[in-house]
C-alpha cells in the first residue's frame, strides 16, 4: 500500500467514525429542572475522528510492516522452516503438555508461600482453580465427546445444594458429602442425557440451556427445601480432616493450629481451601488424562468425529454419550460442593446462565480438549474482570472485546493441540521416508 492509499483509507475510516460519533457522543442530555435539554459537544466528535484516523494509519503501517517482514522471512527460509515460524503459539501448544502443565502445577503449589501472596491473592487463586476445575469437567463433555452443553452450571448447582442440604440437615462432613454430591450430579447428568441422545450441535445446546434454567428455577421456587431466592446460609465450613479451623475450638476437639502448634490465623483456612480445590482440580486432570487413553475416552473422541462410523464399529453411542455426560457432571458436582463449603452461603444467583457461558468460553478459548489451554483461559477470564474492576462500567465490554480478539487471532483456541493417545513409532523418531 502506498502512502497516499494509506492516507485515503485512514480518512475514510475517520469519516465513518465521525458519522457514528454524531448521534452516539455528539449530543448530551442535561437536566434542566423540567424537560431534558440537549447539549451538543462537537469537539468530542473531532477527537474521535482524529483518534480513529491516527489509529487506522498506524494499523495499516504496522500490517504492511508485518507482511514485508514475513515475505523477507519466507525468502530466507525454506518452506519447512517457514511453517515452523508461522506461529509461536501453535508450537507452544505442542510443548504445553511437556513443560507448561508441570510449570503451572508447580507454581500453583508454591503460590501461597510466595512473598506477594496475601489473603486476596490466595482467594483469587481459589476462584481461578474453581473455574479451572469446571473447565476441565466440561472439557470431558464438550472437548472430548463433542456434546455442546450450555447448562453445565446445573450440575455445579446440584453439587452445591447437595452439600449444603446434607451438611445442614444431616450433619454430614465435607468428605462424606463430596462423593454423594458427585454421584447425584452424575445422576442428573444421565437424566439430562437420556432425552437429548438424538440431538447434536445447536439443538443439543438449546436443550441443555433449558435444563440449566430448569434447575435454577426449581432452586428459586422450591422454598421449603432450597430457601428460594434467599438461598442457604450458615453452611458448616470444612475442617482439616476433623480438626476445625477455629480460634477457640469446642470442648474436646483440637483445632488446626493447636494440632500443628501454630499461632491461630484465619489465613490457615484460606490456604487449606486453596489446596483443597487444587487437589480436586488435579484429580480431575489426572482422571481426564488417564481416561483419554482408555477405550471409553477414545470412543468419546471418535464419537465427536463421526457418530455413524462409531456405530458401524460396534460402539454403543447411547452408553458412550451417557458416560460422558455423567462423568462431566460428576466433576461439576465436586466443584459445586467445594464452592458451597468455601462460601458458607449459596443462592440460585450463583448459578445463572452467565456462569455456564463463562465455563464454556473457558473451554473454547483454551482450545477444545487442551488441558493447559483451559488453565490459561480460566486464569484470563477470571482475572480480567478483577483487573478491570476499576473500570467496572466497561468490564463486560473489555471481556467481550478480549473474547472477540482471541477468536479472530486464534479461532481454534489458545493452545489447540491434540496429543495422540498412543504412538506406534516412539515420539521423536520419524519413520523413514513415508509411504513407498
Amino acid at each position: 500500500m502506498t502512502a497516499a492509499e494509506r492516507l485515503k483509507d485512514a480518512i475514510m475510516a475517520a469519516g465513518v467514525a465521525a458519522l457514528l460519533a454524531l448521534p452516539l457522543i455528539g449530543f448530551e442530555t442535561v437536566d434542566t429542572g423540567g424537560p431534558l435539554g440537549i447539549k451538543t459537544r462537537f469537539d468530542y466528535i473531532a477527537y474521535a475522528a482524529i483518534a480513529v484516523f491516527l489509529g487506522r494509519l498506524g494499523m495499516r503501517i504496522a500490517l504492511d510492516w508485518r507482511r514485508n517482514y514475513r515475505e523477507s522471512l519466507a525468502d530466507k527460509l525454506d518452506p519447512v522452516d517457514a511453517v515452523k515460524h508461522k506461529s509461536v503459539l501453535s508450537d507452544l501448544g505442542r510443548k504445553a503438555d511437556k513443560w507448561l502443565m508441570p510449570a503451572l502445577i508447580g507454581f500453583a503449589i508454591i503460590m501461597p508461600f510466595l512473598p506477594f501472596a496475601n489473603r486476596t491473592v490466595i482467594d483469587l487463586g481459589t476462584v481461578v482453580l474453581i473455574y479451572v476445575m469446571l473447565g476441565w469437567g466440561l472439557n470431558i463433555v464438550v472437548g472430548l465427546a463433542g456434546l455442546l452443553d450450555l447448562g453445565y452450571v446445573a450440575f455445579y448447582a446440584v453439587g452445591a445444594y447437595t452439600f449444603a442440604l446434607l451438611s445442614m440437615h444431616f450433619g454430614f462432613g465435607f468428605w462424606e458429602t463430596l462423593p454423594l454430591a458427585g454421584l447425584l450430579a452424575a445422576t442428573f447428568g444421565v437424566v439430562l442425557g437420556f432425552p437429548v441422545l438424538r440431538l447434536r450441535g445447536d439443538y443439543l445446546a438449546i436443550v441443555t440451556l433449558g435444563f440449566g434454567e430448569i434447575i435454577r428455577v426449581i432452586l428459586l421456587n422450591w422454598q421449603p427445601v432450597t430457601g428460594g431466592p434467599a438461598g442457604i446460609s450458615g453452611i458448616p465450613r470444612p475442617s482439616f480432616f476433623g480438626f476445625p479451623f477455629a480460634a477457640d475450638p469446642p470442648e474436646g476437639t483440637t483445632s488446626f493450629h493447636q494440632l500443628f502448634g501454630l499461632e491461630f490465623a484465619s489465613l490457615h483456612r484460606i490456604i487449606f481451601l486453596y489446596y483443597l480445590i487444587l487437589a480436586l482440580a488435579l484429580i480431575t486432570n489426572i482422571f481426564t488424562m488417564r481416561i483419554r487413553k482408555l477405550p471409553v475416552g477414545r470412543a468419546w473422541e471418535a464419537l465427536r468425529e463421526d457418530e455413524i462410523a462409531c456405530t458401524a464399529l460396534g460402539i454403543n453411542p447411547t452408553n458412550t454419550k451417557l458416560t460422558a455426560f455423567a462423568i462431566g457432571a460428576m466433576f461439576g458436582g465436586f466443584a459445586g460442593s467445594f464452592f458451597a463449603a468455601r462460601q458458607g452461603f449459596i443462592s440460585p444467583e450463583s448459578f445463572s446462565f452467565i456462569e455456564s457461558a463463562v465455563i464454556l468460553a473457558i473451554v473454547v478459548l483454551g482450545g477444545m480438549g487442551s488441558q493447559a489451554g483451559i488453565v490459561l483461559a480460566a486464569a484470563f477470564l477470571t482475572l480480567l474482570p478483577e483487573v478491570a474492576r476499576e473500570f467496572s462500567l466497561f468490564r463486560m465490554l473489555a471481556f467481550g472485546a478480549a473474547m472477540v480478539l482471541i477468536m479472530v487471532w486464534r479461532p481454534q483456541g489458545l493452545l489447540a493441540h491434540r496429543e495422540p493417545t498412543m504412538r506406534l513409532h516412539p515420539a521423536g523418531t520419524k519413520p523413514g521416508g513415508g509411504t513407498p
Partner: protein, 273 residues
C-alpha cells in the same frame, strides 16, 4: 450344503411411495467375494444400509450365520450388527475419525474387546496389568493391518491428512480390525487410480483367502468386479435381474440392456426369436 454366511430373503425397502429395493434375495458365502452391481439408483447402497442396520427393512429377513448361530440382522441395532454379528462396513464417502491418528482409528475399532479388558474403564483407570496386555495385543492387530495396507509409516499421522487412497485403505483396515466375518465395502475403488485399484484387488483377495472373511462389494469399477468377484448380483430399479459368476452375468442380455439400454426394436427381435 452348509448355511450361507449371509442369506437375504425377500428384502424390500420402501421410502414413502418409493420402492428402493423390491423383493431381493441372495446369498453371500464365507471366503467368497460377492459383488452387487447395477446402474446408479438401483438400490445397492440401500441393500447395504439394511444389512448394516442403518435402515430397518420394510419386508424381508437377513440372516447371518456365524459359528452355526443365526443372527437376524433386521432385528438388531446397528452397533450390535457390528459388535455381535460381526458385520463390518465401509462407506461410499469415507468416514474416518479425521483428527485422530491412523493408529487410534484402528484401536477405536477394537473398542468392545478393549472395553471388556479394561473392566469397563474401572480396572483400566487404576492401571490393571491385564488391560495393558490387551492393549498391546490390539496394537499388534492394528500393526498387522497397517502392514497389509501399507500405512505403517504414517501410523502416527492424523487420519485426515492422508491422501485419498490412503484414507480408503485405512477404512478397510479399520473395518478388518473389528475382526468381521462379513466385510461390506461400498464402492472401495471410487476415486482410485488404476494402480491403486490393482492394489485393492490384491488386498481383497488376501482378506478372502487368508482370513476366510466373506466380502460383499458394491462397485462401479468393472475391472475390480470382474477380476475378483466369485459371484455377482445385478440390481436394476430395486429388483435383482441377474445372479451368477462374472462370466455368466457379463453375457446376460438383461444386464447388457440395463447398462446399455435396449435397442428400439428389441421387443420385435425377441418376438421373432
Amino acid at each position: 450344503m452348509t448355511q450361507p454366511l449371509l442369506r437375504v430373503e425377500h428384502l424390500t425397502m420402501r421410502f414413502g411411495g418409493l420402492i428402493a429395493v423390491n423383493d431381493v434375495s441372495f446369498d453371500a458365502h464365507e471366503g467368497q467375494i460377492t459383488a452387487v452391481i447395477g446402474p446408479n439408483g438401483a438400490g445397492k447402497t440401500t441393500v447395504f444400509n439394511c444389512i448394516a442396520g442403518f435402515y430397518k427393512p420394510t419386508v424381508g429377513r437377513l440372516t447371518l450365520t456365524r459359528n452355526a448361530t443365526p443372527y437376524l440382522l433386521e432385528r438388531m441395532p446397528g452397533n450390535d450388527i457390528a459388535g455381535k454379528a460381526r458385520v463390518a462396513r465401509t462407506f461410499q464417502n469415507i468416514r474416518l475419525f479425521p483428527k485422530m491418528t491412523v493408529l487410534e482409528n484402528l484401536i477405536v475399532a477394537q473398542h468392545n474387546k478393549l472395553m471388556r479388558a479394561s473392566g469397563f474403564t474401572l480396572l483400566g483407570l487404576f492401571g490393571w496389568p491385564g488391560y495393558g496386555k490387551a492393549e498391546a495385543e490390539a496394537v499388534d492387530l492394528a500393526r498387522y493391518w497397517l502392514d497389509r495396507t501399507n500405512l505403517t509409516d504414517v501410523a502416527d499421522e492424523v487420519a485426515g491428512s492422508l491422501p485419498y487412497g490412503g484414507q480408503r485403505r485405512l477404512e478397510i483396515a479399520r473395518a478388518m480390525c473389528t475382526e468381521p466375518v462379513l466385510l461390506c465395502l461400498d464402492e472401495p475403488a471410487a476415486g482410485l487410480n488404476p494402480r491403486e485399484s490393482a492394489d485393492l484387488n490384491t488386498l481383497l483377495r488376501f482378506i478372502r483367502d487368508e482370513h476366510k472373511t466373506g466380502v460383499l462389494l458394491i462397485e462401479h469399477d468393472m475391472s475390480v468386479v470382474m477380476q475378483i468377484s466369485d459371484h455377482v448380483i445385478v440390481l436394476d430399479y430395486g429388483r435383482k435381474i441377474a445372479d451368477g459368476t462374472p462370466d455368466v452375468v457379463r453375457n446376460d442380455p438383461k444386464v447388457i440392456a440395463a447398462y446399455l439400454g435396449e435397442p428400439e426394436d428389441s421387443a420385435a427381435v425377441q418376438g421373432v426369436v
